[in-house]
């Protein structure tokens, strides 16, 4: 990945984010190149979710700037972020359980047909695309009208990812997409990340699992208490080093010893 | 209230502020306040609520007014508060309801009409017009004065059925229509409020295409017009403007000169029939009748 010769799709410089007296981010810089998978790692509460929410427009940074294509961006809302080409799968999925898969898939970007003021939502197209996109991810739905609440956790995760991939123009952000997934579903998600990356999209991938990160990551950035501990390229760092960084290097030796180093 | 100089008169009634009938009483109170150059305060609870009304009387007494005007729909419930006012040396006049209990509570005099008697007069009038079976449309179920009106009506008329409704005109209209449709014998309707119940009942009758005598308690401009046009029999006017105006005037006189009439003042009932209706319309529209 010859990052230096290419321009990043998105670059965040010195982002700070305060919630009242809580300083969730204390100056984090981060960039994603097209076609790379940049893993964001770190302890619980390190600020990963807050950071990517800032990137996608859910939060506005207290300080710092977001640059895309050389322009300073100012996402006032998630909608603005989406329109700039940032698709996000949130940790809490952003799915509405009582609504159908199709409605959830297209939520916020419903296709329309007909003419004003009689514009219908184009259910035919919506259903077709939903079914085929889900099938591409390895899930055959019984019917697109099924409520999301009746899907299993893994299927739900897949809907969220399929949606983001389908709409994700330039950057795809995945916040711990694999944490609740079974082995097979995890493989599917990782394979999808790989596929998406190969199509030239920049992927931001958050996980607690070093192995999942190593499986698909091109670069690794570790956050700790709202600050970056540094960014490493694939091959520059060993799994053990990465693991130590993620855990803040504390007492891992002792714990690992007692458990046989399998964590 | 309007600002007067030295004299201060409190009025506590049981009618809601947005009730058409009581707004006329209040207009009377305010007019008297202006005419007599006294400060008046008109208060009433949000709903027909004796408990709240008793607190309002206490609050008024606490401010030591030079006179207190109350309506007494429930002598038992309000007795204690009124006695306390009398004990505190405040002259009290009752109005609208309570003439039977007024003397024993130490009230100086009563201005008003007994609801039961008024209902009886209405019943007798409608009976004399040839009515056989009647509806008494009660648009505020649970309000004791309205019950008394229906009871008096039954006494004066004979066979009646009480039709409880809400004070939504569409509901009144549909229910009156349904009742008339269901029971073909009904040939007479008495409503207990002119605007909320009387007017929609008129509309229902018009749509029925059936000969029905209708009368109402209280007045509204539109109903009066119907009376004038011969579409309705009468309005029972208890001249509630006087129920507001006179007690304030009396108490003002009492405070300044120690004057007080010697007995109760019957403000009604006054049957407004076709002959008189036309001349009252304008006054009704202004909130005086």
């Amino acid at each position: 990945m010859s990052e230096d010769t290419r321009k990043p799709v998105i670059e965040l410089v010195d982002i700070e984010k305060h919630f009242g007296a809580v300083i969730a981010l204390a100056g984090v810089s981060f960039s994603v190149y097209p076609g790379e998978c940049h893993c964001l790692l770190g302890d619980n509460g390190a600020g990963k979710s807050t950071f990517i929410k800032t990137m996608s427009g859910v939060h506005q940074p207290t300080k710092g700037k977001i640059v895309m294509d050389g322009k300073n961006m100012n996402f006032g809302s998630p909608r603005a972020g989406m329109e700039a080409g940032i698709a996000t799968v949130y940790q809490d999925l952003a799915m509405i359980p009582l609504m159908s898969v199709t409605r959830n898939f297209w939520m916020g970007r419903e296709p329309q047909s007909g003419f004003w003021p009689f514009k219908n939502m184009d259910f035919k197209k919506a259903d077709e695309v939903t079914m085929s996109e889900m099938a591409k991810m390895g899930i055959n739905l019984r019917e697109p009208g099924q409520a999301v609440g009746t899907l299993s956790g893994g299927e739900r995760q897949t809907v969220a990812i399929a949606r983001a991939v389908y709409f994700g123009a330039k950057v795809l952000i995945l916040d711990e997409p694999t944490s609740a997934l079974g082995v097979r579903q995890t493989s599917n998600v990782l394979a999808t990340v790989d596929k998406v990356r190969k199509s030239g999209v920049g992927v931001v991938f958050i996980t607690h699992n070093v192995r999942h990160a190593l499986a698909v990551g091109d670069r690794f950035t570790v956050l700790n208490r709202g600050k970056t501990l540094g960014t490493a390229k694939r091959g520059e760092i060993t799994p053990d080093e990465l693991q130590d960084m993620m855990a803040g290097g504390q007492e891992m030796a002792q714990l690992e010893g007692s458990l046989g180093g399998t964590v | 209230g309007s600002h007067g100089n030295d004299v201060n008169i409190a009025v506590v009634s049981h009618g809601q502020a947005n009730d058409a009938f009581w707004s006329v009483v209040k207009n009377g109170v305010e007019a008297a306040g202006k005419d007599m150059n006294v400060k008046v305060d008109y208060r009433s609870p949000e709903t027909f609520d004796m408990v709240a009304m008793s607190s309002l009387i206490d609050a008024a007494v606490n401010q030591e007014p030079d006179g207190l005007v109350v309506s007494i729909p429930d002598g038992d419930a309000l007795g204690a508060a009124i006695k306390k006012a009398v004990a505190a040396g405040i002259p009290v006049i009752s109005m609208n309801s309570g003439s039977n209990v007024a003397p024993e509570l130490g009230v100086l005099l009563h201005v008003g009409q007994e609801e039961f008697d008024a209902g009886k007069i209405a019943g007798a009038k409608l009976k004399s017009m040839g009515g056989k079976k009647a509806l008494c449309v009660n648009h505020e179920v649970g309000n004791v004065s309205l019950d008394q009106r229906c009871a008096g009506f039954a006494e004066g008329f004979g066979a009646i059925e009480v039709l409880p409704t809400t004070n939504d005109p569409a509901d009144v209209k549909s229910k009156v229509k349904a009742a008339l449709e269901k029971d073909g014998d009904v040939d007479t309707v008495l409503t207990l409020g002119a605007s909320t119940a009387g007017e929609p009942a008129l509309a229902a009758i018009a749509e029925m295409g059936k000969e029905v005598n209708i009368g109402t308690f209280d007045m509204s401009a539109n109903f009066l017009k119907a009376v004038a046009d011969g579409k309705a029999a009468f309005c029972i006017d208890q001249q509630q403007y006087l129920q507001g105006y006179l007690p304030v005037a009396f108490l003002a006189m009492h405070a300044r000169f120690g004057l007080m009439p010697g007995g109760n003042v019957p403000s009604g009932p006054n049957l407004i029939t076709q002959e008189k209706a036309a001349q009252v319309v304008e006054l009704a529209a202004k909130g005086i009748r």
Binding site: G108, R109, F123 | N18, D171, T196
Partner: protein, 366 residues
């Protein structure tokens, strides 16, 4: 890949078409409607279901229904409006005062009333969204405020709690016809002449036409149902009510949706106000008392969840019809009318319990 398919089937009973129909939100309401109709067929005077009887209970049902549909949309969007009832009174004078006292033409007065509705709805919505307070409590405050403002304005303008002379001031414009009286009068006269519908002794048909509010009601129900189920905006309403944070995160303009719904609710109240004011010729400070609850009840009977994100406009329509039938129907029975409130409460309870039971059955049968 092919191994995925049988997996789904293996652990699931088949879903029959009936059962999938049963899963629509309004199904409970329809069952309730049938039950209520059966009840009245047995216990009420048969004239209740004559043409004129039907029109008679459909008129209040339609007025309530217009509110209930708007309330249902708002409820699906996750909010409440307890100020609807007061808004009816307030809109009534916002129409009546310009018309009667300021001498404005009817068209302008109606526009003015709807303008007031837009502003009031927007204020309601704005406060709810800005403060983050539950709409229950904010609109409860407006229940008092609007009712009070109505009274104050009326007293100020007329000295009474009523404004009259609307009919005279409105004159004969086509707008009056749009909002009051009956539609299709010609057709009904013709039907009467043909002897197909009942007439009075003098030959005029007992029902002279379809009261316009019924037409408004049905059109609005269809439009709202279309909006809710077939359009992008409808999807946003479900999303905003189902989970506003999730919806916002995927780009649904939740605040805009909710404010529009509050405005729509206020406008529905104004429509009812316009209809009643033009129909009865007066505006009154006590119009619309308790209507907010009746509207919510109708919407809930119609299958709306109080928690938002689920419901239907057609359901609210059915709920309003049930409500109207119960309200007026008891007059056609021999039940002592003192029992009205008990009857009302019991029917409400039975309707929602039934509704819930049907829905649960349908869901678990899935």
């Amino acid at each position: 890949m092919s191994a995925d398919k049988p997996m789904a089937d293996e652990r699931l009973a088949k879903v029959s078409l009936t059962k999938s129909l049963l899963q629509r939100p309004e199904v409970g309401a329809v069952v309730g409607l049938i039950a209520v109709i059966l009840f009245f067929t047995v216990y009420a005077d048969s004239r209740m279901f004559s043409l004129s009887g039907i029109m008679n209970f459909m008129e209040p049902a339609a007025q309530l229904g217009i509110l209930a549909i708007a309330a249902a949309l708002l409820m699906v969007g996750g909010e409440f409006d307890l100020s609807i009832g007061s808004m009816i009174a307030f809109a009534g004078i916002a129409l009546g005062i310009p018309l009667v006292l300021w001498g404005w033409p009817l068209s302008l007065s109606i526009l003015f009333a709807f303008g007031v509705a837009v502003i009031t709805g927007a204020i309601n919505g704005f406060i709810v969204l800005r403060s983050g307070l539950p709409s229950f409590i904010v609109t409860l405050a407006f229940l008092f405020i609007l009712r009070g403002l109505t009274l104050v304005s009326l007293k100020e303008a007329t000295g009474t709690t009523q404004l009259r002379g609307v009919k005279e001031a409105a004159g004969d414009s086509w707008l009056v016809e749009m909002f009051s009286g009956d539609a299709f009068e010609g057709a009904f006269t013709w039907l009467a002449n043909m002897g197909w519908i009942d007439t009075f002794k003098n030959g005029t048909p007992k029902v002279q036409g379809i009261p316009v509010e019924i037409i408004w009601f049905v059109v609005l129900a269809l439009a709202a149902s279309w909006l809710l189920t077939r359009t992008r905006f409808g999807n946003w309403i479900f999303a905003a009510g189902g989970d506003p944070i999730a919806a916002r995160n995927v780009g649904v303009p939740v605040n805009r949706v909710k404010i529009i719904l509050f405005i729509f609710t206020a406008m529905a109240a104004t429509l009812v106000a316009t209809i009643t004011v033009l129909e009865f010729g007066t505006a009154d400070a006590s119009r619309g008392l308790l209507k907010e609850f009746h509207a919510i009840i109708a919407a809930v009977i119609g299958g709306c969840l109080l928690t938002g994100g689920y419901g239907s406009a057609i359901g609210a329509m059915v709920g309003a019809v049930i409500f109207g039938m119960v309200q007026i129907g008891i007059t056609y029975t021999n039940i002592n009318l003192d029992w009205f409130q008990v009857f009302m409460g019991a029917i409400l309870l039975i309707a929602v319990v039934l509704n819930n039971w049907v829905r649960n059955k349908a869901m678990s049968a899935h």
